[in-house]
């Protein structure tokens, strides 16, 4: 899974978000390292909807413009959980090995 996809799914993990909300959440989660642009975001959202990992939660009209909220589907929660567990396991092994090699200060 690409990092942008992982971060988008993570942004939706604790509740539904609209497009601009996802962009700000992703920037916050990544510590400002990943700044999604609209073209990248909506291409990813369209693919994630096609794969049934996310779905539209609700729609609102704000200042005359459509605002669509997205949420994870049960399948999206499963995929995100599996990916998070995989990354966590890899990071744990990497940290353990670094500690054994004396490559980390703590």
């Amino acid at each position: 899974m690409q990092e942008a996809t992982f971060l988008i799914l993570t942004a939706l993990a604790d509740g539904s978000q609209h497009g601009y909300g996802i962009i700000t959440e992703v920037a916050q989660i990544s510590g400002g390292r990943v700044r999604l642009r609209a073209g990248t975001l909506y291409t990813a959202l369209d693919r994630l909807r096609a794969d049934k990992l996310i779905e539209v939660d609700r729609e609102e009209i704000v200042e005359g413009r459509l605002r669509r909220y997205y949420r994870l589907t049960p399948s999206g929660i499963t995929v995100l959980s599996a990916e998070a567990a995989r990354l966590h396991a890899n990071a744990t092994v990497a940290l353990k090995r670094l500690r054994l090699a004396g490559g980390m200060a703590t």
């Binding site: 497009g19 642009r37 609209a38 909506y42 693919r47």
Partner: protein, 215 residues
């Protein structure tokens, strides 16, 4: 931010590159996000925003409907890289036209103005053909992504054409007078060779020739 109709028009022009069905469903929402993320007093679409929207549109249009094997996906990426290489070749040709004349004169001091005119005509033809070459790369990526069997044969034919074109350039001495053009041509050949080999792997074969439906 302060609202700018000019900026919204610019965004809508770029969104016109997306498939119609996608636009119908998402254009207003995307415009809202683009305007929300635009800088204060921004009046024109920035180059990075334009590149992002065009890249998104290309992805939407080239995205295969099913799930192609990794080899076919890799071949599609290479064909997109081929399109980028063609754009690079066009830019190189335009930028190095001045250097080309001095390189030719260094090799052949008796080179006449009439001969140079012939070279310029040939360059102009190649520059006009460059968008067509980009289109061929993207069209091949699109058709191969959809598992059209003729598309991989067309890709093989395209590879042969590129090799012959590069050999012809070599025979004309392009490698000596315009090494950058020649290098990009060779890169295109290598891209086409690798992509062709990927679409003819065993796993790709199943994608292009699915099991016939039995009744």
């Amino acid at each position: 931010m302060s609202y700018s109709p000019e900026l919204e028009r610019g965004y809508r022009r770029l969104l016109a590159c997306y498939p119609r069905s996608f636009r119908r469903e998402n254009a207003d929402e995307i415009i809202g996000v683009l305007l929300a993320t635009a800088a204060e007093d921004q009046r024109r679409v920035g180059p990075a925003e334009s590149a992002d929207l065009i890249r998104g549109a290309l992805r939407m249009r080239l995205r295969p409907p099913g799930r192609p094997p990794g080899a076919v996906l890799g071949a599609m990426r290479l064909m997109c890289a081929g399109a980028v290489a063609s754009v690079a070749l066009l830019i190189t040709m335009v930028v190095t036209t001045g250097d080309l004349k001095s390189a030719i004169l260094a090799l052949d001091p008796a080179f006449t103005a009439a001969q140079w005119h012939g070279v310029l005509v040939e360059l102009a033809v190649r520059e006009w053909c460059a968008p067509l070459v980009v289109f061929v790369w993207l069209w091949l990526a699109w058709a191969n992504g959809r598992g059209r069997n003729w598309a991989r044969l067309a890709l093989g034919a395209w590879f042969i054409f590129l090799v012959l074109n590069t050999l012809s350039s070599l025979a004309q001495g392009v490698a000596l007078v315009a090494p950058a053009d020649f290098a990009v041509g060779v890169v295109e050949c290598l891209i086409a060779a690798t992509a062709t080999s990927l679409v003819f792997t065993r796993r790709s074969w199943l994608y292009y020739q699915p099991e016939p439906v039995r009744y």
